[in-house]
Symmetry: C2
C-alpha cells in the first residue's frame, strides 16, 4: 500500500491561504480515496533539505516511499497513474485529460499567475497590465466555448479539472470571470465537490493553527 505524504509550508501570510498548491494534491488524493498525511517545511528558513526535494524552494512536493515528486502538475500526473478516478484509462480520454492539464499549466497559468500578481500588487495600469489583461480575456473567450460543450474537460472529472478549476478560482477571487458565465459555473461546480472543500478548509485551518502557535 502506498503511503503518500504531501509536504507544504508550516505557515504562510494571510493572502495566499486556501490557494497554496498543496490543495491540488490533497484534492486529488481525497477524490481517489487514497490515504495520505500532510507534513510541513519551514516557510521562513528554506534549507538544503527543502531544495533537495523542490529545487526552486517552492511547495508542495509529494512522497510515495522512496519516490519524491515536485511540481503540482507532476504530482497530479503521478497520482493519475494510481487511480482511474483521476486519469481515465481509455487512450483518447487519457490524452484529453493530459493535454488539458498541460493547457492549464502552460497556456492558462502563464497568463493567470502574472495577472493575479498584478492584482495582488495593486498594479493595474501601464502597458504590461493592459497586455496581460487582454491576454487573459482572449484565453477565457476560447475556454468559455470549450466548457460550454461539456461538464468536465476530458468528459468525466479528472486531474485536468482539478488543475483548471484551481487556477480559475484564483482569477474568480479578483472577479476576473464576471464576463464568462459558463466558466464561472464550471468553477462553482468543481469547487462544490467535497474533496476540494475538505482539502481547502484543512489548509486554512492548518495555517490558522500555526498563527496561534507562534
Amino acid at each position: 500500500m502506498s503511503e503518500f505524504t504531501v509536504v507544504t509550508y508550516d505557515w504562510v501570510p494571510e493572502p495566499p491561504r486556501g490557494y497554496v498548491r498543496d490543495v491540488r494534491i490533497c484534492w486529488a488524493l481525497e477524490e481517489a480515496g487514497l490515504p495520505y498525511r500532510v507534513e510541513t517545511t519551514p516557510f521562513r528558513d528554506r534549507g538544503p533539505e527543502h531544495f533537495a526535494h523542490q529545487p526552486f524552494g517552492q511547495v508542495p512536493w509529494l512522497t510515495d516511499g522512496e519516490i519524491s515528486v515536485f511540481e503540482s502538475g507532476a504530482c497530479l500526473l503521478y497520482l493519475g497513474e494510481k487511480s482511474a478516478k483521476l486519469l481515465p484509462t481509455d487512450t483518447k480520454a487519457r490524452v484529453e485529460a493530459v493535454e488539458w492539464l498541460i493547457a492549464g499549466l502552460n497556456s492558462m497559468e502563464m497568463v493567470t499567475v502574472p495577472w493575479s500578481i498584478h492584482q495582488f500588487s495593486n498594479d493595474r495600469q501601464g502597458a504590461a497590465w493592459e497586455r496581460t489583461d487582454g491576454w487573459l480575456t482572449t484565453r477565457l473567450t476560447h475556454l468559455e466555448k470549450v466548457i460550454g460543450k461539456r461538464d468536465w474537460l476530458a468528459g468525466s472529472f479528472s486531474i485536468a479539472d482539478i488543475l483548471m478549476a484551481d487556477l480559475l478560482r484564483l482569477v474568480d477571487r479578483f472577479d476576473g470571470l464576471k464576463d464568462f458565465p459558463t466558466t464561472k459555473a464550471y468553477v462553482a461546480r468543481a469547487t462544490a465537490r467535497p474533496a476540494l472543500i475538505k482539502a481547502r478548509d484543512e489548509q486554512i485551518a492548518r495555517f490558522k493553527a500555526a498563527d496561534a502557535a507562534a
Copy 2:
C-alpha cells in the same frame, strides 16, 4: 506503425521563426528516429478545423492516426510513451523527467514567456518589468545549481531537456543567460544536437519558402 503528423502554421512573421513550438515536437521525433511529416494550417485565417484541434488557436498539434494532441508539453509526453530515448522506463528517472518537463512548462515559462514579451515589445521599464526580470533571475539562480550537478535533467537526455533547452534558448536570444554560465553551457550542449538543428533549420526554411510563394 504510427504515422505522426505535426501541424504548424503555413507562415509566421520573421521574429518567431526558428522558435515556433513545432520545433519541440520535430526535435523529439528526430531524437527517437520516428517517421513523421509536417502539415500546415493558415496563420492568418484560423477556422473551425484549427480550433477543433487546438482550442486556443495556437500551434502545434500532433496527430497519430485517430489521436490528436495539442499543447507541446502534452505532445512530448505522448511521444515519450513511444520511445525510451525520450522518456526513461525506470520509475525514478521517469518521475524526474516528468517533473522537470512540468517545471519547464510552469515554473520556468510562466516567467520566461512574459519576460520575452517585454523584450519583443521593447518594454523594459516600470514595476511589471522589474518584477518579471527579478523573478527570472531568482529562477535561473536555482536552476544554475541543479544544472551544475548533471549533464541532463533526468540523468540521461529526455523530453525534459527538449522543453527546458528550447525555452532557455529564447531567453539566451535576448542575452538573459549571461550571468548563468552553467545554464548557458547546457543550452549550447542541447542545441548542438543534430535533431534540434534539423528541426529548427527546416522550420526556418519552411517559413522562408512561404515568403517566396506569397
